[in-house]
């Protein structure tokens, strides 16, 4: 399966970029200040990155992400580009997309946000020390630090968004899988289908049931579909209404519905609630439903030798 594009999911269009930049108070003065510090950044990058990985490799949980020397060398190279990117003087769409990619990479290797955010603290600490050493005037150091901090927080916001959207994607995939599993339409015989319903039927699921039933009935040109509700714990007015609607829709496409698996409890509720389901063919047992369905397609089950 192809992984969905993390950038497309974030919807990082120009409007979003402007809005985010303004909220993080990133002005052109900040970007210019950082661009002017590029020589400073180049001078300190190796030391900062070494110190940064020293911390990551010292902690047992984060060390796991860097199994060998080669991987450490590789991530250090990537980190160097990242770090210098802070002093590029731009915060445009390409920049934001690059940051989203960084977030997607961390999500991909399953590095939890806590490690990611914790590591950033160290990053800022290292930067802070060096900026205050670099500028004679602490006010100037403070300004530079503020600018860097804005951009770092901006980066973090994008990375966290990538984490969240990746998780939402995963949830969507799971929901789709559950939906598919919740309406397992089975072909019992030529032009006879069976849908055993198990579990609670809410309106979302009822919607899904109707769509699936109609599509399968027309795809397979089934004359009859049996809905077995033996596994549905509660059949209230709403559920009965949904079943009636499905029956009516199935009739419109030219097929019929047989409802089976009605327990004593369900029969009692339906009558007590005053729901009229006389429009549906109902039988108590699935076996009877199958026999009735076969009769509709001109078939019958007979005893051997009879």
């Amino acid at each position: 399966m192809t992984r969905p594009d993390p950038l497309a999911r974030l919807n990082l269009d120009d409007h979003e970029l402007v809005s985010r930049r303004s909220f993080f108070a990133i002005g052109t003065d900040d970007l210019e200040r950082l661009a002017a510090l590029r020589p400073f950044a180049e001078q300190h990058t190796d030391a900062i990155i070494d110190a940064f990985y020293e911390m990551l490799l010292a902690h047992p949980e984060t060390r796991k992400f860097f199994p060998d020397e080669t991987s450490v060398r590789r991530v250090k190279r990537v980190q160097r580009d990242y770090f210098l990117g802070l002093f590029g003087g731009v915060c445009d769409r390409a920049y934001a997309e690059n940051r989203a990619r960084v977030g997607a990479t961390h999500e991909h290797i399953a590095m939890a946000p806590k490690w990611y955010l914790g590591a950033y603290r160290r990053y800022l600490e290292l930067l802070h020390e060096r900026l205050y050493a670099h500028f004679a005037d602490p006010a100037e150091a403070n300004l530079a630090y503020q600018s860097a901090q804005k951009l770092v927080f901006f980066d973090m916001s994008i990375a966290i968004d990538t984490y969240i959207s990746a998780n939402i994607d995963a949830i969507r995939r799971h929901q789709a899988a559950i939906r598919e599993l919740s309406t397992p339409v089975i072909r019992v015989h030529d032009r006879v289908l069976l849908l055993p319903l198990v579990g609670t039927v809410d309106s979302g699921r009822a919607h899904q049931i109707m769509e699936t039933v109609l599509t399968r009935v027309t795809d397979e040109q089934a004359k009859v579909i049996i809905l077995d509700i033996a596994g549905v714990p509660v059949v209230d007015t709403k559920v009965a209404q949904h079943l009636l609607q499905t029956t009516a829709a199935v009739k419109l496409v030219g097929a019929r519905t047989i409802l089976t698996g009605i327990s004593a409890q369900v029969a009692r509720t339906i009558v007590q609630l005053g729901v009229d389901i006389s429009a549906m063919d109902t039988v108590s047992r699935l076996q009877d439903g199958i026999e009735l369905a076969l009769a509709h397609v001109g078939k019958a089950i007979t005893a051997k030798g009879a």
Partner: protein, 127 residues
């Protein structure tokens, strides 16, 4: 609209008539369609009419009403109507709008529709 009249072909299949609707039925076209069908029924005295709507992506309540009305009018003239080939999404939409087209015979396809007509005819004879 002059294209309307006769724009939906009406074919003979055995004793029955078959109408295949493949252009959107709206206002003028729908009324012309109804008139064409009824005129043809009057001429042919067919026992059954199959209306195939598998070519229709959109069927609103207006069209659904025209279809079921045509069926009821045909019945008055001694012809049973079967609407066939309704698409799943069309059926779902009509039901959600509370339009179940009660009293209209339906079938999955033209073959089934003709079979349904034969069943109804046999039922009438025995009755």
């Amino acid at each position: 609209m002059s294209v309307a009249k006769g724009s939906i072909p009406i074919l003979r299949v055995g004793p029955n008539l078959l109408v295949t609707v493949h252009i959107d039925l709206h206002d003028v076209v729908a009324e012309a369609f109804q008139e064409d069908v009824l005129t043809e029924l009057e001429k042919r005295r067919a026992p059954g009419l199959v209306i195939d709507i598998s070519g229709l992506d959109i069927v609103d309540t207006y069209v659904a009403r025209i279809l079921s009305e045509t069926g009821r009018m045909a019945r008055l003239m001694g012809t049973e109507t079967v609407v066939v080939g309704m698409r799943p999404d069309v059926a779902a939409t009509l039901i959600r709008m509370g339009y179940a087209m009660e009293g209209v015979n339906t079938a999955l396809n033209v073959d089934d529709g003709i079979e349904t007509l034969a069943g109804i005819a046999a039922g009438k004879k025995t009755a």
